[in-house]
């Protein structure tokens, strides 16, 4: 009888210590967890991309779909840019930071040969104001003088190579410009607007 009691006691200690350790070996765990994601059209996105209210150049911007598209060739009136001239299309796009942290914003993928570039207008509401040289407030597209490897320009060569830094609620007004020999310009492609948090740059 005594011996039997002892065995039961040992058994329960073993069980107790297993529980105290808390974990057993596991071979695999597969856990399904739920997520809710809201997708919005460009005007309502965290990085909002829209035309500019009351701008005559909104004619070039089609905001009817979920994503903005720009067509400079087939808008009402003329059908293309002048060759051997300097064309500036102001108030083309407004890009607004509807997120919660400062972001650098710029564009990639614009035509390079011949090239059409995007620049930051001085009507923008940005944190690194006055970064640009000449009439452009700052570089905006990767084929302008923007240095995409150094968008925060922490190499200290002067901020004209930096991308505009946009605080929550701030915006960049974007103009397009092209100059010089534009012969053979026929671009129909996708450009990418990028935003990267200030502390990631």
């Amino acid at each position: 009888m005594n011996r039997r009691k002892f065995l039961i006691g040992a058994g329960s200690i073993a069980a107790g210590s297993a529980a105290a350790m808390g974990t057993g070996a596991f071979t695999s765990v597969s856990a399904d967890r739920t997520m809710e994601v809201q997708v919005s059209d460009d005007a309502d996105a965290l990085l909002a991309i829209d035309d500019i209210d009351d701008s005559p150049n909104s004619e070039y911007v089609d905001t009817s779909g979920n994503t903005v598209s720009i067509d400079i060739a087939s808008a009402e009136g003329g059908t293309g840019l002048n060759d051997d001239a300097k064309t500036i299309i102001k108030d083309l796009l407004k890009i607004t930071n509807q997120g919660t942290q400062n972001v650098y914003v710029w564009a990639e993928g614009l035509p390079t040969d011949p090239s059409v570039k995007f620049g930051v207008q001085d009507s923008s509401d940005i944190e690194n104001d006055g970064t640009g040289a000449g009439e452009n407030q700052g570089a905006f597209s990767s084929n302008s003088n923007l240095d995409t490897d150094d968008i925060d320009d922490d190499e200290g060569d002067g901020q004209e190579e930096a991308a505009p830094l946009v605080a929550p609620g701030g915006h960049v007004d974007v103009e397009a410009f092209a100059l010089g020999d534009l012969e053979g310009l026929d671009f129909d492609g996708t450009i990418t607007i990028k935003a990267v948090a200030e502390d990631e740059a």
Binding site: T23, V29, R33, E36, D44, A45
Partner: protein, 182 residues
């Protein structure tokens, strides 16, 4: 004396034969043993899942972690991720205002007893693509492409990458599967 010897010999053979048969036949055995299984809150489970931040994007619904993008506390009902885009969320919505923001939206911790590889899977009828990445990885490689090995007691803090190419406008309820295996 000779005969006795012979009998002993037989006995020895018989015994060897039984050993070779090995087992007796039985039709059924029913043995009750105690099994104790508990489910734990995600934070305390063998595969520990812990929400990071202040609860805007990464929360817990009962005992399970749950995620909302752009944010649970969305003041503007129209606000969302843009279509045809790639969004990366390294951290919760208000972390950037802090001096030392909490990086990552989810901590995956190995609270088991052996090293595991951990990654995520995402199956959906929508066009959304969702993957996790280690926020300390400069390349932000998706865990699905390169699972992170967690030793016992180790954790990885992950961010979310969401691709919205060809996605419709609207709100999507998605399921993300977090896997850990030896």
């Amino acid at each position: 004396m000779k005969r006795r010897n012979f009998v002993l010999g037989l006995g020895g053979l018989a015994s060897a034969g039984t050993l070779a048969m090995g087992t007796g036949a039985f039709t059924s055995v029913s043995a009750d043993r105690r099994l104790q299984v508990e489910t734990a809150d995600d934070n305390d489970a063998l595969l520990g899942l812990e929400e990071l931040g202040e609860g805007y994007r990464s929360t817990k619904d009962g005992s399970q972690v749950k995620f909302n993008f752009p944010s649970l506390d969305n003041q503007d009902p129209d606000l969302g991720l843009g279509a045809d885009s790639v969004y990366e969320f390294d951290r919760d919505a208000d972390e950037s205002d802090k001096d030392s923001p909490t990086e990552g939206l989810l901590r995956i911790e190995n609270q088991g007893t052996q090293p595991v590889d951990t990654y995520s899977e995402h199956e959906t009828d929508s066009e959304l693509e969702i993957e996790l990445y280690d926020v300390t990885d400069p390349d932000k490689t998706a865990l699905g492409d390169d699972p992170v090995t967690l030793d016992v007691g180790e954790h990885v803090d992950v961010g979310f990458r969401i691709r919205t190419f060809d996605a419709d406008i609207g709100t999507f309820d998605e399921t993300l599967t977090i896997v850990a295996e030896v």
